[in-house]
């Protein structure tokens, strides 16, 4: 399991994301994971071997490194990226559950042709109802993890700037020794970059929350209950055959409701033109 496999797992969720969710996913993979793997890891590669203390006392180097770097930036970022990406799997699980239910319905109605099963597998769900709540919860978890890691980062390394020199007097160092950190400027540049992109991701997540809430409000206040039922039914109906449509019409007596709803003239014109 490596970043490549992780990428394959997470990008499968992309189909059911909003536009902002897809942008967030691209930012995560290109500006954080890719930069971490191709650039940042080599900057921190020699962080322990390049950490030099002005003493010949054995053990002093190790102890001082451990005191000032309880957890390396690279490991913190890797954990942050893993935890921040995984709430998307909540959505994937919900979608898988829905597909399982649909497959069960198909089996019960006796239509188990491979084509129908393929269609159920590739069906794209609207972000409404229970899926909306799952999606919303996953975004909130993302924001919580992102902010929590930023706070942990701030607790361990209060200054985003990497110092060149640290003074250490832990045993077995004989007195207060000067220890020099390797590549502090380069590390500062990458720390600032990664923090900035992390901030951008938090903003994208907040924007997505606002977008989802506004969409839900529009749906709730803008469309009447009957029209929403018609929209839901016409979505379901497009996947059934004609005899089942007739049966459903008979059951729900919706013949009168299959009228053209109010649409703008341009849209009607578009429908009339040859596609």
């Amino acid at each position: 399991m490596n970043w490549g496999t992780f990428y394959a797992v997470i990008s499968g969720v992309n189909r059911h994301s909003t536009g902002i969710g897809r942008i967030w996913l691209s930012v995560i993979f290109i500006f954080r994971i890719l930069v971490l793997v191709v650039a940042a890891e080599s900057v921190w590669g020699d962080e322990k071997s390049g950490f030099t203390c002005n003493t010949q006392q054995p053990g002093c180097n190790s102890v001082c490194y451990d005191q000032f770097f309880p957890i390396s930036h690279i490991r913190l970022w890797a954990l942050q990226l893993i935890l921040v990406s995984t709430p998307a799997l909540l959505v994937a699980m919900h979608v898988a559950h829905r597909r399982h239910i649909d497959k069960k319905i198909l089996k019960r109605s006796g239509r188990t042709s491979p084509k129908e099963l393929e269609r159920v597998k590739n069906q794209k769900f609207q972000i409404t109802g229970a899926l909306w709540w799952t999606y919303m919860i996953s975004i909130i978890f993302r924001i919580i993890f992102e902010v929590a890691f930023l706070y942990i980062f701030y607790l361990i390394y209060p200054d985003f700037k990497m110092v060149r020199l640290v003074k250490c007097d832990s045993y077995p160092c004989p007195n207060t020794v000067d220890c020099f950190v390797s590549r502090p400027t380069e590390k500062t540049i990458f720390t600032v970059f990664m923090l900035a992109v992390s901030g951008v991701c938090v903003l994208l997540n907040l924007a997505e929350v606002v977008y989802l809430i506004s969409r839900a409000c529009k749906r709730y206040f803008g469309v009447s209950e009957d029209e929403s039922k018609v929209a839901w039914i016409s979505q379901k109906l497009s996947t059934y055959r004609q005899n089942e449509i007739n049966q459903l019409i008979a059951d729900h007596s919706l013949k009168s409701k299959f009228t053209v709803t109010k649409k703008s003239p341009t849209e009607r014109g578009e429908r009339c033109s040859a596609f």
Partner: protein, 254 residues
């Protein structure tokens, strides 16, 4: 996630590029990413361990290295390649958005105008996914913006490299007097000539990419201008035709 994954993403987005765009992508991945990964990274691999200063003072080498190499060439090039590749994804996002809109329209029109057979609808959706959009209208603007961003990032990073390292040549020796170095010490850089050769190579490849981007931008502008002129000429011709028809009708009626 690594260079091959980025390559897969960009190749997918490349379908809607012009021929110059496709050449640019090949130059980017063959002459820059591949050279970076297989050659340049090993040249700069021992940059800190082999940075030797003429002193035994602990910490002096670390501090002098940090003073003369605030950002390594390799990291600058990695960031440059990542930033330069991403505007292409703007185009891919716009194409995905257009396909989504058209698919919605298709579903709605088939849903209301009587239920098409599922096979027919699926075929239409597949055709929608496989089609290649002409670079006109909003796509033209998105593509032009992505080219401008590419040029900006390329130029910006080249300028940053030039400013940070005072040119493209790597010196053999630098003199450093930062604390804790006891006095002015000589510090020796490892493989300076090889580093100079690769720096010049990468700068040349970067310039070629900039030239390709500028040529592509000029081509797009020329295409848009010719399309506008042709459109104007056609409109004028059709206006003249309708005018002559009405004149004939009025003559006949009189």
């Amino acid at each position: 996630m690594s260079w091959p994954a980025l390559y897969t993403q960009l190749v997918g987005a490349n379908r809607h590029s012009t021929s110059l765009g496709k050449i640019w992508l090949s130059v980017l991945f063959i002459f820059r990413v591949m050279v970076l990964v297989v050659a340049a990274e090993s040249v700069w691999g021992d940059e800190q361990s082999d940075f030797v200063c003429n002193t035994l003072q602990p910490g002096c080498e670390n501090v002098c290295y940090d003073q003369f190499f605030p950002v390594s060439h390799i990291r600058l090039w990695c960031l440059q390649l990542v930033f330069v590749s991403t505007p292409t994804l703007l185009v891919a996002m716009y194409v995905a958005y257009r396909n989504h809109k058209d698919k919605k329209r298709l579903m709605q029109s088939s849903g209301r105008a009587g239920f098409l057979s599922n096979k027919g609808q699926e075929e239409e959706v597949e055709a929608l996914k496989k089609r290649r959009l002409p670079i006109a209208g909003a796509l033209w603007w998105t593509y032009a913006c992505s080219l401008l961003f590419r040029l900006l990032f390329e130029g910006g990073f080249m300028y940053a490299l030039y400013v940070v390292y005072d040119g493209f040549q790597m010196p053999r020796l630098v003199q450093c007097d930062q604390w804790p170095c006891p006095n002015l010490v000589d510090c020796f850089i490892s493989r300076p000539t090889e580093k100079t050769i690769f720096t010049v190579f990468m700068a040349t490849a970067s310039s070629i990419c900039m030239v390709l981007n500028m040529a592509e931008l000029a081509y797009l502008v020329a295409k848009a201008v010719t399309r506008a002129l042709c459109g104007q000429r056609e409109r004028r011709a059709s206006r003249d035709r309708t005018q002559s028809k009405t004149n004939q009708r009025s003559l006949v009626s009189t």
